[in-house]
């Protein structure tokens, strides 16, 4: 963002698009695909280099899914790995000079949150249990539908706003620190803040993915009882 609060838009056919968000999303997709290609060529039994790093991430999410869902949830691990890699690289992209994160736009984070908590959640539930999956709205007894609907609406909202707020506030603060401190030494206070933003980027990606697993888990688990 050059000016805080101003987004450049493109209008095509009556719809408004945020220019930087779309371009940065494409760049993030390209980087994720590049990481995947680098990690999966010349696969070795004992991993080294890129394969080692991506296998560490795969193992991390495999253990998380096994702890929260159990063995029948393992088909979802690629989804969560991709989500984590995409969000981590998207959050880090804003810290490179001249770029901004696609996740500093509420459109990106809200669409990811709705995808995870509505489409994947109910999609997997209906695929695994049929239309009876929707019965969980009236459990344990019928008036609970109000509480369950409010919970369903608040989950994507909190996921989206948490990620959006963290990344946007970090980027705005970088601009403000660079603007307020006199020109020669303004790398001095902004460097610790950028380092902290790297940490925040990883933690927020991890929290988003872990909460998605927590929200999807009941839809996958229930067909045991």
């Amino acid at each position: 963002m050059d000016k805080i609060g101003v987004r450049e838009v493109i209008e095509i056919g009556g719809y408004t698009f945020n220019e930087h968000t779309i371009l940065m999303t494409w760049l993030t997709m390209a980087i994720v695909i590049l990481v995947a290609v680098l990690a999966t060529r010349n696969l070795k039994e004992v991993p080294t280099g890129w394969q080692n790093a991506v296998e560490a991430i795969a193992e991390l999410w495999e253990t998380q899914v096994k702890n929260m869902i159990g063995k029948e949830g393992l088909f979802l691990v690629p989804l969560f790995m991709t989500l984590f890699l995409y969000l981590m690289i998207a959050n880090w992209l804003g810290l490179t000079p001249g770029m901004e994160s696609p996740t500093n736009d509420l459109n990106t984070t809200l669409s990811m949150a709705i995808l995870m908590t509505f489409f994947v959640n109910h999609g997997v539930g209906i695929a695994k249990q049929g239309i009876g999956h929707l019965k969980h709205f009236v459990e344990p007894f019928a008036p609970f539908i109000i509480v369950n609907v409010i919970e369903e609406l608040s989950r994507p909202a909190s996921l989206a706003f948490r990620l959006f707020g963290n990344i946007l506030a970090g980027e705005v603060l970088i601009i403000i620190i660079l603007a307020l401190v006199p020109g020669v030494v303004n790398w001095l206070p902004s460097t610790p803040w950028v380092l902290f933003s790297i940490f925040v980027g990883v933690v927020q990606a991890y929290i988003f993915t872990m909460l998605s697993i927590t929200y999807i888990a009941p839809s996958v688990k229930k067909h045991h009882d």
Binding site: I4, G5, S158, F161, R162, F164, G165, N166, L168, A169, V172, V200, V203, Q204, Y206, I207, M210
Partner: protein
């Protein structure tokens, strides 16, 4: 009072309360983390990871408040354009 002054007073109140509550919430988690590490130093990695994730979750509301403050300062919809 003009909208500018009222917006600035609102910004002051929001940021003070958000910062105070964020620190209070995080301090409760981190003090338990210190106790846990003292009792069982081998569990340091697991406890530390969970503590950081918990801090990220706790700070979500103060950060939403910060975004509201940023909107009030830079893109205030109540001021005449």
């Amino acid at each position: 009072m003009s909208p500018v002054i009222m917006s600035l007073i609102a910004v002051m109140v929001i940021m003070c309360v958000a910062a105070a509550m964020a620190v209070y919430g995080d301090s409760k988690v981190l003090s338990r983390l210190m106790e846990g590490i003292t009792r069982q130093p081998e569990a340091k990695d697991a406890l530390f990871t969970n503590a950081l994730v918990s801090c990220g979750l706790i700070e979500s509301m103060p950060i939403i408040a910060t975004v509201v403050v940023l909107i009030l300062i830079f893109a205030n919809p109540l001021l005449a354009k």
